[in-house]
């Protein structure tokens, strides 16, 4: 591969290189809306608003204050109506022209884009295989899209090769330049933004182009983009912030140095601390951090886990999200962090998350057994539910006894969790379920055990009762 040169035959303005479209390539899978045409449409709608506001404003003015009536045959009113009709007819014609233009050229343009992207895919593959030099210069939308698609789908050593092409083709510099523009725009004063005045010497990114760039950065996963993206997360709002957060998390996930990776992850998460960031966004960012998530969880626990954060505070939410993410990723790296977070004095969401992370561990970490036993009789049903799932880490007989007792819990969710956990315990659990289904003194325990057996494919009975309305019993105070 010889990168850093302009390839003869490739137009720097982004004209396609020669090549055949590889079969089976879908250049834009899952896309619903086309790119392009939006600016034209936006200009059109603004023109309509302005023109109609003018025409209708005059009409209303004449009617209300022009001492005329609709039925008087007034020349003034007629003139105004004719003007309004002419304006509207012109706008209809303009919209029709745009519609016909977009309709007529759209299909051809879509096909051309598809073909161009497919050819670029072939080109980039050839570059990666060392069969042709790396194109550089102004690569154009299709070329960058194809390269980033390739980067996105590549795994293992291929991912490294694709990343190298992203860098050597200059795509990284293009994207970083655009990102700098977005960050500069986000730092401008509210007044300047409201006035839509561009900063000197730098074109202002449109909403669409900014979001496109952030999406491109999410696919490119450039480690050098992380500080700027983090700044954008801290200063941005709405879709820009969410896109920047995704791009930053994905980029951090590919940082090779674990220390730098953890530091970047924690900086990113802390940049959210002064905003009312939804829990879902935190979950998304943490899951996209991938292997960096456990390290981030450790850092977050160190920051917020020692002193008890208040219920529903950012610290509690972030801590809970971090533990949840580590649990979902099946990480054992946070096992030693769990016991302190299971204590009664921790916020409810943190305890529940710690129990979920505990349930994902292969065995009970030291110091958690007693806390888990206490959690089984916690007054909060959400804690008992999660504890019922984690009890599978007890020895089978022990677990079966604890779960059989929970089958008669006042909360339906706890009974459900107990039945489901028993069903996965193996023969001991199934025997306990069968016994409970037949002999438990509690009717709800018998029904839940029977259902758990049926759900486990053991076909236990068909004569149970439906529509039982079991929500009537409450957790005792």
């Amino acid at each position: 591969m010889t990168c850093g040169t302009t390839v003869p035959g490739v137009d720097p303005a982004g004209v396609d290189p020669p090549g055949e479209q590889p079969p089976g390539v879908d250049p834009d899978p899952g896309r619903i809306w086309r790119r392009g045409g939006e600016a034209l449409f936006a200009a059109l709608t603004l023109a309509i608003v302005a023109a109609e506001a003018g025409a209708l404003g005059v009409l209303v003015w004449v009617l209300l204050f022009g001492h005329t009536t609709p039925s008087a045959g007034e020349p003034l009113l007629d003139d105004v109506l004719v003007a309004a009709i002419s304006t509207t007819a012109l706008l209809v014609a303009a919209v029709t022209v745009v519609m016909v233009f977009l309709g007529a050229t759209g299909a051809r343009r879509d096909e051309a884009e598809t073909a161009s992207k497919a050819r670029w895919l072939a080109t980039w593959r050839a570059v990666m295989e060392g069969n042709r030099p790396c194109p550089t210069g102004n690569l154009g939308r299709a070329a960058i899209d194809a390269l980033l698609d390739l980067r996105e789908s590549a795994t293992g050593p291929e991912a490294g090769l694709a990343q190298a092409v992203v860098e050597s083709s200059g795509t990284d510099r293009v994207l970083m330049g655009r990102l700098e523009g977005i960050v500069a725009d986000s730092r401008r004063s509210t007044l300047l933004r409201a006035l839509r005045l561009p900063p000197l010497f730098r074109p202002r990114p449109t909403a669409a182009s900014a979001l496109d760039t952030l999406e491109d950065l999410a696919r490119a996963r450039l480690a050098e983009s992380v500080p700027l993206l983090t700044a954008l997360v801290a200063n941005g709002t709405g879709a820009r912030r969410r896109q920047a957060l995704r791009a930053a998390a994905r980029s951090i996930a590919v940082i090779e140095d674990p220390t730098a990776q953890a530091a970047a992850a924690v900086t990113l998460l802390q940049s959210l601390s002064h905003r009312g960031v939804p829990r879902g966004e935190l979950d998304e960012a943490l899951m996209l951090l991938d292997q960096a998530a456990p390290a981030a969880a450790r850092a977050v626990t160190a920051r917020y886990g020692a002193s008890p954060p208040e219920e529903a505070s950012f610290g509690a939410t972030l801590l809970a999200a971090s533990l949840d993410a580590a649990g979902r990723l099946g990480s054992t790296a946070v096992a030693d962090l769990l016991a302190p977070q299971l204590r009664d004095d921790r916020p409810l969401e943190v305890r529940a998350a710690a129990l979920r992370a505990l349930a994902a561990q292969p065995s009970l970490p030291p110091g958690t057994e007693q806390v888990l036993r206490r959690a089984l009789s916690d007054p909060q049903d959400v804690v008992r539910t999660q504890a019922a799932k984690a009890v599978r880490l007890f020895p089978d007989g022990d677990a079966a006894r604890a779960l059989s007792a929970l089958l008669a819990d006042p909360s339906w969710w706890v009974r459900l969790a107990a039945g489901q956990t028993l069903a996965i315990l193996g023969p001991v659990g199934k025997a306990a379920l069968a016994d409970a289904a037949l002999h438990d003194r509690d009717r709800y325990a018998r029904q839940m055990a029977a259902q758990a057996l049926r759900d486990a494919g053991l076909g236990y009975g068909t004569g149970g009762r439906t529509d039982v309305g079991v929500a009537s019993r409450q957790v005792p105070a």
Partner: protein, 472 residues
């Protein structure tokens, strides 16, 4: 000038001013709607959806399908639902005391068996006779229940739903294969989201293969084409704009995704209402604003659902008559929200808009037609003025239909053939050659029938498999 003449002129001036305000609203809505499309198309990118699934931070969804007499389409609908691209979901068909072979067809097609089920009855419903499951499709559950109406059927399915999100749809609609991923992603972006609506497109004329739309061709009848334009205006312009303003008031019953706990908190859908879908949205607004809780009702302009629309003018009249009654019934029920600052922009903007421009439009337009007749009879109307005004009115209507159509050209799944686009262009004019007047008349009559007609399932005569696959 006589008193009669003065009143008449006053009314005429009011109609014109009303018309001017409505037109400007549509123009502004088109601009706002475009902004929503730009943001949504980037946020719900293929990579974002891939991450959602691969990194497992999606929220599982229960798809709830109320079905009354749907023997013609129900197995195809379930087949298409079982093929959705989403990693964790279930389909619950609630057969609401059907008198045809809806249940029998489901039993045969999917090998359903009785499966006594213990579930939490969070919302009261009519008796569920039995629960059936399919050994081949463990994600499919069918309820056989006593008839109680659409809302009751949905509520029964809510009780059985296992997942935190519930997607409610009509039995004769088709979902985009990625509908669940796209809608559920909005719940990830914001914890405060309690409901998400999506755009609908008419299924008529579209080519369906294996339960998915493969070609969005224009339908053959003018009345269907007019509805294609109407849906484009309504979803890509109006609802998108309202969602931008944070005041979405309607999520179509044909496709909506709700947070299950929120639905249960408000007591589920209210049986016996014609517009139970709209009522649910207003109920959610009222519930959360009464308690000063943070919440959001979101909308994605992505067309996630294809639905059948009436093929004949009289069916369209019947449908719109029912909708009008439904809207008025719900607005009356929630009249305390009108201009009530306690409900923020919903009380001060959203609900007044519905009164003024949904119900009001019917009244004003009908009044306009009557005024023309009365003024002409009284010799008080200048025919030249009337003609000029009619031309202006038609041009406005055409302009916004065209805007809706232009929005559709931004879709990848758009009307590709020139003859389809021409047909729809002409339909924008054809709408004013009788169809619109017939519909307005039905809606006006419906305003006087709110109390005399009860809610019922809306069914089209075309809801057969032949119609779905053959209406091209």
């Amino acid at each position: 000038m006589t008193v009669f003449g003065s009143v008449l002129h006053g009314l005429e001036a009011f109609v014109l001013v009303y018309f001017a305000v409505l037109t400007l609203y549509y123009a502004c809505a088109a601009f706002l709607g475009l902004g929503v499309i730009v943001a949504s198309s980037r946020e719900l990118s293929p990579v974002a959806l891939k991450d959602l699934v691969e990194h497992r931070y999606y929220k599982p969804v229960s798809v709830l399908v109320p079905a009354y007499n749907e023997e013609g389409v129900i197995t195809q609908t379930v087949d298409s639902l079982l093929a959705l691209r989403f990693p964790q979901y279930e389909v619950i068909v609630s057969v609401d005391g059907a008198t045809d072979r809806t249940l029998a067809r489901l039993i045969v097609a999917f090998g359903l068996r009785d499966s006594p089920e213990i579930y939490r009855r969070s919302v009261g419903t009519n008796k569920v006779r039995r629960v059936l499951r399919s050994p081949e499709h463990p994600e499919l559950t069918v309820l056989d229940k006593e008839n109680g109406g659409r809302a009751d059927a949905v509520n029964a399915a809510v009780n059985l739903a296992r997942y935190p999100l519930v997607c409610v749809m009509d039995a004769d609609s088709l979902l985009n294969p990625e509908a669940l991923a796209r809608a559920s992603r909005l719940f990830i972006e914001d914890d405060a989201v309690v409901a998400v609506g999506g755009s609908l497109r008419p299924l008529n004329g579209a080519v369906v293969e294996h339960g998915a739309v493969v070609d969005a061709a224009a339908p053959s009848r003018w009345v269907e084409r007019v509805q294609v334009l109407e849906y484009a205006r309504s979803f890509f312009i109006a609802r998108a704009a309202w969602s931008r303003l944070g005041s979405l008031m309607i999520i179509s019953g044909a496709f909506g995704v709700f947070r299950r706990e929120a639905v249960i908190e408000v007591g589920g859908w209210t049986p016996g209402l014609v517009a139970d879908d709209m009522e649910m949205v207003l109920k959610l607004h009222r519930h959360f604003r009464d308690r000063a809780l943070r919440y959001r009702i979101a909308f994605t302009p992505d067309p996630l659902c294809w639905t059948q629309v009436p093929r004949r003018v009289r069916d369209l009249q019947a449908q719109r008559s029912m909708w009008e009654r439904g809207v008025l019934e719900v607005l009356w029920r929630y009249r305390r929200m009108l201009f009530n600052p306690r409900y923020g922009r919903i009380g001060l903007v959203g609900v007044p808009y519905l009164w003024l421009f949904e119900i009001g439009a019917t009244v004003v337009e009908t009044t306009g037609y009557l005024l023309v007749v009365v003024s002409l009879a009284a010799g008080l109307l200048d025919v030249r003025f009337l003609l000029l005004f009619l031309v202006l009115a038609v041009l406005f209507g055409v302009l916004f239909s065209e805007l809706g159509m232009t929005m559709q050209t931004l879709l990848l799944a758009r009307h590709r053939r020139a003859r389809d686009r021409l047909a729809l262009f002409l339909a924008a004019f054809a709408e004013y050659l009788g169809i619109r007047q017939a519909v307005v008349l039905s809606r006006a009559v419906a305003l006087f029938q709110v109390r005399s007609r009860r809610a019922r399932y809306w069914r089209l005569e075309t809801t057969t498999s032949e119609a779905r696959d053959g209406a091209r």
